[in-house]
């Protein structure tokens, strides 16, 4: 192992941790995991060390590809595909796990080490009832008892995981559950056989923040009561620091730094950890104003100061009383119920500014954005673009309108056609709108790639050769190709790792300054909002609950719902504590 930086782990007992028993529960030493691919052997974990004591909560933090999930899966021999432990040792409860026979590992799984997997949507088998899936875990781990006793136990476990009306719920199927309920069911499965160690892989990162908070709180209480040690795997430093006493930061297959959570946050040693701590979006971060500050002096001459009557820049987008009602097909023909996805929403987007549309899933924010983009017709209300009602546009005018408002979507993996080269993806809108000749279009593509800080050689490559962050840059370049006035960013950075996310946000800030773009920024992540938005619209179940400037919303939230959202940001409590201390 090549460590230039102090790796503090179990062997040195750091101060401030009192709950410590002598024998480590899990001790990983110099673990090597490799995958065999077509191009050769890839080392996913290279000499990782980690120690977990009974009842302790430890978090492994790192971005995707750092090997954190691989490390956790190696412990219970659930490595995907060609993954193999190439060296090192994993000692659990005094027993060496590397090289154990399959049946012995099977005995260990569930009974001694439980797993709460990452994505609640895909981790429950859709064809079996929830109850049956929990019952299975009981039976597999030697639960002695009659059918009725098992049933009762299942209901008890579900209730314990925080599902009301557990008896009835156990008879339902996964698709009848919300994401939060599924996550709770998975926790019930993970804890069913009362394991000594629970591995929580990216705990509810796929869920809304408020739900995420409730579930993590619950998990914390539960594991403390049961005395279960928890190994969190997460990319979210704030969440890790808040939930675990001990952190291990992984980077490129190695644990580059580990120690008590607070110490790592306040005094990171390794350069990677430093970057991670610095770029973690949080409530304390401010609007990105890199280029802003440079141009401030000249701006001052034009822009009025606060308090004065501002010179009225016309709103580039004005949404008035926007409502969208969907008809949901009923149980029998002819029967249908109305579902109001967007309910009487009004907001304006000022030219050159950023408006954040914030809400949890199902709040109607994406539906509203689709209506602004002209992709969905409103049931009532209007969307005005540059003072013209979009609904009144003819087909030809609508085509011209689309040039001026462009979307960037959430999933950088799904929004680029895998069959198209990068050049073709960026050039397509230009060709569609008959902008320039072939040579001018190529020049424009080169210019756009420069703009999003990608080498021009990228244009001959294909999406699958690029990382998530690079793809999102391509998506932005594609959106900017037609020189739009407005860019609608629908969860554009949500799928990215923090460091990449910070880079993209910075890029967006620069581009806005350079090109005078207006952004409609749709997100569920309030921490990001603080970094990019000038004003915020908070939506809940289709309605606008709060609409104010970003600082106002963050410093003096008026509505309870906004406060809940703010409180639910991972790490919020931590910062609060630091401020208080």
């Amino acid at each position: 192992m090549t460590t230039q930086f102090p790796v503090t782990d179990g062997s040195e007992v750091p101060a401030g941790e009192t709950r410590r028993l002598d024998q480590p529960l899990l001790e990983i030493r110099d673990l090597q995991v490799s995958f065999t691919t077509a191009v050769g052997v890839v080392q996913a974990v290279r000499g990782a060390n980690l120690t977990v004591y009974p009842g302790q909560a430890v978090a492994i933090v790192g971005e995707s590809g750092s090997g954190k999930s691989t490390l956790a899966h190696a412990v219970i021999d659930l490595l995907p595909g060609t993954g193999k432990i190439a060296g090192g040792s994993i000692v659990f409860d005094g027993r060496e796990l590397v090289g154990l026979a399959r049946t012995e590992i099977e005995d260990l799984r569930g009974r001694d080490i439980g797993l709460v997997p990452q994505d609640p949507m895909s981790n429950l088998n859709p064809v079996w009832r929830i109850g049956a899936q929990i019952e299975e875990a009981l039976k597999a781990n030697g639960f002695q008892g009659s059918r009725a006793e098992r049933r009762e136990r299942v209901a008890g476990l579900l209730a314990e995981a925080g599902l009301p009306d557990a008896q009835r719920r156990a008879r339902q199927y996964p698709h009848e559950f919300s994401g939060g309920m599924r996550q709770r069911s998975l926790i019930a499965i993970g804890l069913a056989a009362r394991p000594k160690l629970l591995i929580a892989d990216e705990p509810p990162s796929a869920l809304d923040v408020t739900v995420q908070r409730q579930i993590l709180d619950h998990l914390e209480v539960l594991t403390q009561e049961l005395g279960t040690a928890v190994l969190f795997i997460t990319h979210d430093l704030g969440l890790a620091a808040e939930r675990a006493e001990h952190l291990a930061v992984m980077f490129k297959g190695r644990v580059v730094e580990s120690g008590p959570a607070r110490q790592i946050l306040s005094d990171p040693q390794h350069p990677y950890t430093k970057r991670l701590v610095a770029s973690a979006p949080s409530l304390a971060s401010r609007r990105i104003q890199v280029a802003h500050e440079q141009g401030e002096e000249s701006d001052e001459l034009l822009a009025p100061h606060a308090g004065e009557e501002p010179v009225r820049e016309p709103d580039v987008v004005a949404v008035r009383n926007l409502t969208k009602v969907f008809q949901i097909r009923g149980a029998r023909p002819g029967a249908s119920t109305d579902f109001t996805a967007v309910d009487d929403v009004t907001f304006e987007l000022k030219r050159g500014s950023t408006l954040a549309l914030v809400g949890e899933s199902g709040s109607g924010k994406s539906t509203a954005a689709n209506m602004v983009l002209g992709l969905l017709d409103p049931t009532s209300g209007t969307v005005e673009f540059d003072g013209v009602d979009v609904a009144t546009l003819s087909t030809k005018e609508l085509f011209a309108f689309r040039r001026r408002i462009q979307p960037v979507f959430q999933n950088p993996y799904g929004s680029l056609d895998p069959q198209f080269s990068i050049y073709r993806s960026i050039e397509e809108p230009l060709r569609l709108h008959k902008v320039g000749g072939a040579r001018q279009r190529e020049a424009r593509v080169r210019e756009l790639l420069d703009m999003v800080s990608l080498p021009q050689s990228t244009m001959r490559r294909f999406p699958n050769e690029l990382s998530g962050g690079q793809r999102q840059r391509i998506a932005i370049a594609r959106a900017l190709a037609l020189k739009p006035d407005v860019v609608v960013l629908d969860e554009a950075v949500s799928a990215l790792d923090v460091l990449v996310q910070a880079q993209i946000l910075e890029l967006l800030g620069d581009l806005q300054d350079e090109l005078g773009l207006s952004y409609l920024f749709i997100t569920h992540d309030l921490a990001v909002v603080r970094q990019i938005a000038d004003s915020v619209v908070v939506m809940q179940t289709g309605k606008v609950v709060e609409h104010a400037s970003t600082d106002e919303v963050f410093d003096h939230p008026r509505e309870q719902y906004t406060r809940d959202l703010l409180a639910a940001i991972p790490g919020a409590r931590l910062e609060g504590a630091e401020l208080a201390g």
Binding site: I76, L78, P80, G81, R102, T103, E106, D107, L108, R109, G110, R111, G114, L115, P117, Q118, D119, S122, N123, L124, N125, P126, V127, W128, E136, A137, A140, N141, Y173, H175, L186, I189, G190, A192, A193, R329, G330, A331, R332, P333
Partner: protein, 308 residues
């Protein structure tokens, strides 16, 4: 669910009417005069021909003929063919044996296709997977009549394991080899479908969750991999029942089975329109019923599918 079933059954009516009309029009438009052909080389006197045409309503316009046919269907009186046999009797003689043959072929392809496919999918890339894939490709590539004759010669004549032909009123044993031949191609498809589906499901998140629970490998395979993998296979099998019945003609010919295929072929050659349309209509109905059954099975296998 009842709503759904009712709606699906109502759909049978337009499909039935459309299919029979189309079939009737097609046979009506066929060139040649079957009545004239009855007389062979010497031909029949004009008066006899007219007499026959009148008896079988062949002198009526197309639409009238079609409506008369429909009346026959609903009163279960299909009339007689040129040789004086009741068409209903002809069908009753042909369908049971073909149906038995098709069901046997379906069972063979389902059991062996799913079984082999499961093992191949679990050990994707292994020697079993490789050899089974090559074998299935071979079966798909070689025409049924070649497989049929080779099996007949090899297993029937040389080795004497199976009766060489089935003949009249065949029993289970004498239909076994024809059923294997008939199901061979679909068996290869089922195998490949199952294999892909199983391999895909093996890497599903819920399978990993099941393993993390501490389930044994056999439990994970049976409860979590197999059931989920069967969903696309069932769709294929359902649609295949119709194909097997209609496609049995070659196999029936090779093994001398008096089933739907042979009867239909004779009727087409002789130009007995009513027999042709009647037999085909029953096949259409079998097809519809099989598809309905598949959709219901689908809902049983996958609770996410709810019909409303």
């Amino acid at each position: 669910m009842l709503w759904y079933l009712g709606r699906r059954l109502l759909q049978v009516i337009p499909v039935f009417l459309g299919a029979t009309l189309l079939l009737y029009a097609l046979v009506f438009l066929r060139p040649g005069d079957p009545v004239n052909a009855l007389g062979g080389e010497r031909g029949l006197p004009e008066a006899v021909q007219d007499e026959i045409r009148a008896r079988y309503n062949l002198d009526q316009p197309f639409l009238v003929q079609y409506l008369l046919f429909l009346r026959g269907v609903f009163t279960l009186d299909f009339g007689v063919d040129f040789r004086g046999r009741e068409i209903l009797d002809v069908m009753a003689g042909a369908f049971p044996v073909t149906f038995q043959l098709a069901l046997m072929a379906l069972a063979i392809e389902a059991i062996f296709g799913v079984g082999f496919g499961l093992v191949a999918g679990m050990r994707k890339g292994g020697w079993f997977d490789g050899s089974v894939l090559v074998m299935s490709l071979f079966v798909i590539a070689v025409p049924t009549f070649v497989i049929g004759f080779v099996a007949q010669l090899g297993l029937g004549v040389r080795l004497g394991w199976f009766p060489v032909t089935a003949g009249r009123d065949p029993d289970f044993y004498s239909l076994l080899m024809p059923a294997i031949v008939l199901g061979a191609v679909s068996f290869a498809y089922v195998l490949r479908l199952t294999r892909t589906s199983v391999a895909e499901n093996l890497s599903a998140d819920y399978v990993r969750t099941a393993r993390a629970k501490g389930l044994q490998r056999s439990q994970v395979t049976g409860r979590h991999v197999l059931r989920n993998s069967l969903i696309p296979v069932v769709t294929f099998l359902g649609a295949d029942l119709g194909n097997l019945m209609a496609g049995a003609i070659v196999t029936e010919g090779i093994f001398n089975i008096n089933g739907v295929g042979g009867t239909l072929y004779d009727a087409i050659v002789r130009g007995e329109n009513v027999t042709v349309v009647s037999l085909t209509t029953v096949l259409v109905l079998v097809y519809i019923a099989a598809n309905l059954l598949v959709d219901l099975l689908y809902a049983a296998l996958d609770p996410r599918i709810r019909y409303a």
